[in-house]
Symmetry: C2
Subunit: 196 residues, 2 copies
Amino acid sequence: MESGVTQPPIGRGPKVRAAVLAATLTELAEVGYAALTVDNVARRAGVHKTTVYRRWADRETLIADALTERVAADIPLPDTGAIDTDLRELARNLTARMTGRIGRIVLTTMLSDAPEITEARRRIFADRILRAAPLVERAVRRGELPADTDPVELIRALAAPIYLRLVVTGEPLTTAAADRAAAAALAAARAGVFVP
Amino acid sequence: MESGVTQPPIGRGPKVRAAVLAATLTELAEVGYAALTVDNVARRAGVHKTTVYRRWADRETLIADALTERVAADIPLPDTGAIDTDLRELARNLTARMTGRIGRIVLTTMLSDAPEITEARRRIFADRILRAAPLVERAVRRGELPADTDPVELIRALAAPIYLRLVVTGEPLTTAAADRAAAAALAAARAGVFVP
């Protein structure tokens, strides 16, 4: 998409960032990780290639940013007032998002055997986990979970069976599977498994 | 490797099967999933290509068989007399094997983005889980876990955080991580999460 002639060309500010990240996701969806080029992302975002390289050191950083910001931000964090329903909603939201358009892009990228993607994969996952940490911290403050429960370990445990289905076994991400992942993580947390 | 001239050429029986599967694993380790050919596997095993095709319909079936038999058989099933130590040993064995030579082959194959590998990946995982089921069944008989605990769901829960590290986050597979995976699965099982 070209920028309109009645406005100054896209070149600075958060609009550029958003346009480039959105274009990166669309390119990932259309051509895949291996074939994505900064040239094509720039063309699609209506900016010059040098504008992209001014903000992102390379193609891998750009892809990691696009997946991290757009994907993690896309998963709503529940706040139902109780840890059991919070975790169940979180598992269901994660499941729903991973089976949608964005989820398929993440999955394709995660399954790429390009070695450079390893760091992006790690960042996307770490970012998602950190965004969900407040949910656990609230439950600890309400006295629903042992003090010192590690939020990262709990959310990781919840996410693990969902990613296993997505990445390894290819089984369908049913609501029952999401609920079981949430219930298992909660039982382990209550038993103190995530207290260091 | 050519077969010796003083013996009849390898052509039938379980020895051929073992030789071909071993050659497949070696080829996977050396050239990777994408570049593996039945020609090269046959040459390495000292058999004719038609001998391979008589037993395996295609390259993917051959790879899936090699990974399933050699990999799953490679993980010892503990029998310590108690479910907590059994699960901890199982998690440690799985972790140890996945970080060794065979583990790296499985990992490379699992991370391949070749679409045909999906079925092999599913089979390898399902096979591993089924081999571990007796461990859970013994615990149910000893009254350590709720009756009707689903062995597949329990072992899956134990394996999920280990595979998450291997396939998604790339974090090291420490003994602490293995022990936490075992403890979390056990707590969930005791709470009845894996009773359908």
